[in-house]
Point group: C2
Chain length 191, copies 2
């Protein structure tokens, strides 16, 4: 397989845009080539098959949705209290809103996972690891709350993000920041 890393990243980014815009069924090697503006046949040199492409897309979205290390370091100078958890959730909302195509592509991958066991197994592994890493981090750093606190925060923020990114008028743009505050207040203990 071809090995130019910049080209592979450009093709994976193009696949994310195709997924968000056309849905999982629109994701073909031909559509990825067209979106990336490369000659037809290029993507097939970089990915073994469609499942390989989908799995690389999942890992790349995970990478694109990771916090900016500089922003995170600045936030983490504060004490490990509820206010810091609130600041981290606002940063999450900002990042996902900025990476809208990536989050929508991840929802497309979730639906594709219901149809393709290979995608389901890979994606389950990726999301489980990420959730377990979040739980371990929360507890190790001494943030308030326990394992269930992190799981509930994950579920409520997932619900909020799915609603906000697919039907923004349901929760409304105006009250969204206040709703993030409420989510943290009601789920995370004060200390």
């Amino acid at each position: 397989m071809a090995q130019n890393p910049a080209r592979r990243t450009a093709l994976t980014d193009a696949a994310i845009d195709v997924l968000a815009r056309e849905g999982a069924r629109g994701l073909t090697f031909r559509a990825v080539d067209a979106q990336a503006g490369v000659p037809a046949g290029t993507a097939s040199n970089y990915f073994a098959n469609r499942d390989d492409l989908l799995n690389r897309v999942a890992r790349h979205i995970h990478h694109r949705l990771t916090p900016d290390p500089a922003v995170l370091a600045e936030l983490l100078r504060a004490p490990r209290d509820r206010a810091l958890v609130t600041a981290l959730m606002h940063d999450l909302l900002r990042r996902i809103t900025a990476e809208r195509a990536g989050y929508l592509a991840m929802l497309e991958l979730r639906l594709e996972a219901t149809r393709r066991p290979g995608v389901r197994d890979q994606l389950t592994g990726t999301i489980r690891e990420q959730l377990e890493a979040n739980i371990a981090y929360h507890l190790d750093e001494g943030f308030p709350g326990d394992r269930e606190t992190v799981v509930l925060l994950y579920l409520a923020m997932t619900g909020l993000l799915v609603e906000h990114l697919t039907l923004p008028g349901v929760l409304g743009e105006d009250g969204l920041a206040a709703l993030v505050d409420t989510v943290v207040e009601r789920i995370v203990p004060l200390d």
Copy 2:
């Protein structure tokens, strides 16, 4: 347009199965006709266009996901306390798990709404009304908690259902009932 109500319902049910199995992009009049086992051209006599079909599908899913009145009446003989909210959330999980295709089709419609303003406006109206009705019901019936309690419960259960129906291995089947208990315990006050 043709007016046989049973035929229209059968076509709408077929559209839900096509959406869940093939994704939004696979939803064509031709695919609906094939899924329903009716002559090609039938669906086009029942729906003005594809957006009309999508909007009717959304309302029909909403209808299919509504609680069974007999089950609900039996549950509602209990006092309006946290235990009853827990029982209602377990009933919700049971219904959605039984109506898996309907819930997956609704996720497909949410993603289609990001691409089609007509679908977005209709679906936003439907989901907003439903959320406001849930809030009003909770407060009118004297269940514990306030408006934010219901919104948070809605967000956390949305996160749980999206996770459970698309990647069941992330939360696991075994701990799922206990997780519903935890969601209610942490979000809904005791009385």
